[in-house]
């Protein structure tokens, strides 16, 4: 996979990108294997909880309440974090966030930073901005390290290198870490990564992180992780810079009780993450001396303003939806052209772009509902997808040019047909006549023209029956048949 930036503004439309992904059989194998493993683990630990559905409802209620009062809780967070010695920065968009972080990193006096995996930093494309300012960012999360060394892009929110298998990872390590001898067991690869990273942990003075949750009540920040690199990056550096979307807020410390049961079980199929870190501001002689948090909007407030799409912000980034999605299973994450892929990506990415880009993503779904079924906070993703589709259509049918939108014309025509029994029956008769030239001897159609051709690329279509149900009903004889 090349280093093409996952930028929704320039990414290929999903149907095109997906076609290429489907042709990559190694990718398909890797994605299927990884998602099946995580799904099994998730099912096992979720099955242990007798009140899982009530827990989901509690999670949903907490997130809904938070969004309804987001302004209040954000200000509460700022107050409490500042009181504890943290410095709170507000970033309207990705560009502002990048500038703030670059300036903070420069001011910290270091030309290197160590990073914990953060999808938010990917969203704002932070690393290239740091590089441009002469600051090298070392990824310390194993998957992000693999991505960085492989000059690749993340394809999954929780397991960013899911599209790579062990052999491919070993190759990357051999090449980039200059290891002539490298075993292929997981322990060998972990050992290589550990040695490679230890040096950085102990040397680099500035750390950059994301956040899983921000606690308004205490001004605290919570990060959960599996590898311990987070713990290293949060405690060893002198300066810590955290960037978090404003949707990461939770009202009370106690709300972690619900979220930290929902998140690890949904994300990695674990009862809890091995490392759970919560820090509040700064403390003398303990951890970083300077703590900065950058609160990022980047279109989240516009999502908040849309009552029917607001629940998009409830997401706690567990990626259970990605693992359950039958579409993601076929294509992997890169096809979505965004760091947020799969079902959540299909609703979040276009909205972060204010619906100006990634308009193919709301259609990248068969509306099967598997995502809604596993979402720990009960986001009705199919419903939001349909809502966004109507926005895409409104956009496409706006203005003079919109009057000529082919699909809209066809849809309006069909709606007119369905509004009248007479027209409907006429259309049925017309369709039977029109398809006649396409029907083969066995009563099947192997080729359809134009946009319908997508059907016959890999499916046949049975010819229409000569008599519709209602025509049969009308002709029912005395015996009813």
């Amino acid at each position: 996979m090349s280093q093409t930036a996952l930028d929704p503004r320039t990414a290929s439309a999903f149907p095109i990108a997906a076609k290429a992904a489907i042709a990559d059989s190694q990718l398909q194998k890797n994605v299927r294997h990884a998602t099946e493993v995580i799904q099994r683990k998730r099912a096992a630990v979720v099955g242990e909880i007798p009140d899982w559905q009530q827990l989901r409802e509690a999670g949903r209620a907490i997130r809904e309440h938070t969004m309804a009062h987001l302004d209040f809780y954000l200000q509460e967070f700022e107050r409490n974090c500042t009181r504890a010695g943290g410095v709170v920065h507000w970033a309207r968009d990705a560009s502002e966030a990048r500038q703030i972080i670059v300036d903070l990193a420069k001011a910290s006096g270091s030309d290197e930073v160590i990073k914990i995996k953060s999808m938010t930093t990917e969203e704002i494309q932070l690393n290239p901005a740091l590089e441009a300012a002469g600051i090298h960012a070392f990824e310390t999360d194993l998957a992000e390290l693999i991505i960085q060394l492989g000059q690749d892009r993340p394809s999954h929110i929780v397991v960013p290198a899911l599209h790579k298998n062990r052999q491919q990872i070993r190759e990357i390590f051999r090449r980039e870490m200059h290891l002539t001898e490298l075993g292929e067991r997981p322990e060998d690869l972990a050992d290589a990564a550990r040695t490679f990273l230890r040096d950085r942990f102990l040397r680099v003075k500035t750390g950059v992180s994301g956040a899983n949750f921000l606690i308004a009540e205490t001004g605290g920040v919570c990060v959960v992780e599996s590898e311990g690199n987070g713990r290293m990056c949060l405690t060893l550096p002198e300066t810590l810079i955290t960037v978090a979307g404003i949707d990461k807020i939770l009202p009370r410390f106690q709300d972690l009780e619900v979220m930290l049961q929902l998140l690890p079980r949904s994300a990695t199929g674990e009862r809890m993450n091995p490392y759970n870190s919560i820090w509040t501001g700064v403390h003398a002689n303990d951890g970083p001396r300077a703590f900065h948090i950058v609160l990022l909007d980047n279109a989240r407030t516009s999502i908040l303003a849309d009552a029917e799409a607001r629940e998009t912000l409830h997401c706690i980034r567990c990626a259970a939806c990605q693992n359950a999605c039958p579409v993601y299973r076929q294509t992997g994450g890169h096809a979505y052209g965004s760091v947020y892929a799969g079902p959540i990506g299909a609703i979040l990415t276009p909205q972060l772009q204010q619906m100006e880009h990634a308009q193919s993503l709301p259609y990248a779904s068969s509306l099967c509902g598997a995502c809604y079924e596993v979402c720990p906070v009960k986001i009705n993703i199919p419903e939001v997808l349909i809502h966004l589709r109507s926005q895409v259509v409104s956009h496409n049918t706006a203005g003079i040019a919109g009057l000529f939108d082919g699909e809209a014309i066809a849809m309006k025509a069909m709606a007119a047909v369905f509004r009248s029994e007479r027209r409907f029956r006429a259309a049925q008769r017309l369709a039977r006549m029109a398809e006649r030239p396409l029907v083969g001897k066995d009563g099947w159609i192997g080729w359809l023209p134009g946009p319908l051709g997508g059907w016959t690329e890999m499916r046949d279509l049975q010819a229409m029956p000569k008599q519709s149900f209602r025509e049969w009903w009308e002709k029912r004889g005395a015996d009813g048949w």
């Binding site: 259609y363 598997a370 349909i386």
Partner: protein, 244 residues
């Protein structure tokens, strides 16, 4: 009966089968002739305004029925999940009230039998090897649960085999099948492969949309495996001719 636009046009045999089963059980079936379409395709593709008048039409056409039977779980899901919101958005209090009154009387075919009539054995005979595919709307939106499979288990002569990946989407998804043909095809390939893996002669489901999709692949492969709606299997009788 609400036949649905695509069953009326493409799968009249399913409608005939529903009538057969219901009459065999002693019920009388009516068919309001003015019915056309529930509006799901328009609503799901992003044209809610076009779906609105179709919804009104459905409510008007079906309002007088004692019970409405629909051989399509996606259409019932459309009505249950989306009609209330649409009615509310219209601001028409009468429409909201009429819809609220009608919805509890609307049933997908299999749930009419199992939940409304409390029946699992409907006196069917179908001596074939059959596998069941759980359509997404029936499974997740209508929560049909074990109902369809228990109905099948009670069929005399049937050899019912479980499919691998029972709950995995077949890839139809309405306009998705055409807009994202490659992904739809890849999902279909897995489902078709699973069907063939059961050795079944017939694949069944509660939705002809899924079955049309699955049959499309099975026929393209010249596999000889057929798809039949659940109603057609339940309509099977010892004396009548099988359509297989």
């Amino acid at each position: 009966m609400f036949i649905t636009c695509y069953n009326d046009t493409l799968f009249p045999e399913t409608g005939r089968a529903v009538v057969r089963v219901l009459e065999r059980l002693g019920h009388s079936v009516e068919f309001p002739a003015g019915q056309t379409c529930c509006g799901q395709m328009h609503y799901n593709t992003g044209y809610p305004a076009e779906a609105m008048p179709l919804m009104r039409r459905v409510v008007d056409q079906l309002y007088e029925a004692e019970a409405v039977v629909v051989p399509s779980s996606s259409c019932v899901a459309m009505m249950r999940d989306h009609y209330p919101k649409m009615a509310h958005a219209s601001g028409d209090a009468t429409l909201v009230a009429r819809l609220q009154d009608l919805l509890p009387r609307v049933f997908e075919f299999s749930e009419f039998l199992t939940k409304r009539l409390g029946l699992y054995d409907v006196g069917a005979y179908y001596p074939h090897r059959v596998t069941y595919h759980a359509s997404c709307h029936g499974l997740r939106n209508l929560e049909l649960g074990e109902g369809p499979q228990r109905l099948l288990q009670a069929v005399r002569g049937i050899d019912l085999v479980q499919i691998a990946g029972l709950e995995q989407c077949c890839g139809f998804g309405g306009t998705f099948a055409v807009k994202n043909a490659a992904v739809s095809g890849a999902m279909l390939a897995e489902k078709a492969s699973a069907v063939l893996g059961t050795g079944a002669e017939v694949c069944t489901a509660c939705d002809n949309s899924c079955l049309m999709h699955i049959q499309g692949a099975l026929h393209r492969e010249r596999s000889g495996v057929k798809t039949r709606h659940l109603a057609e299997i339940l309509a099977g009788e010892e004396i009548s001719q099988s359509e297989a």
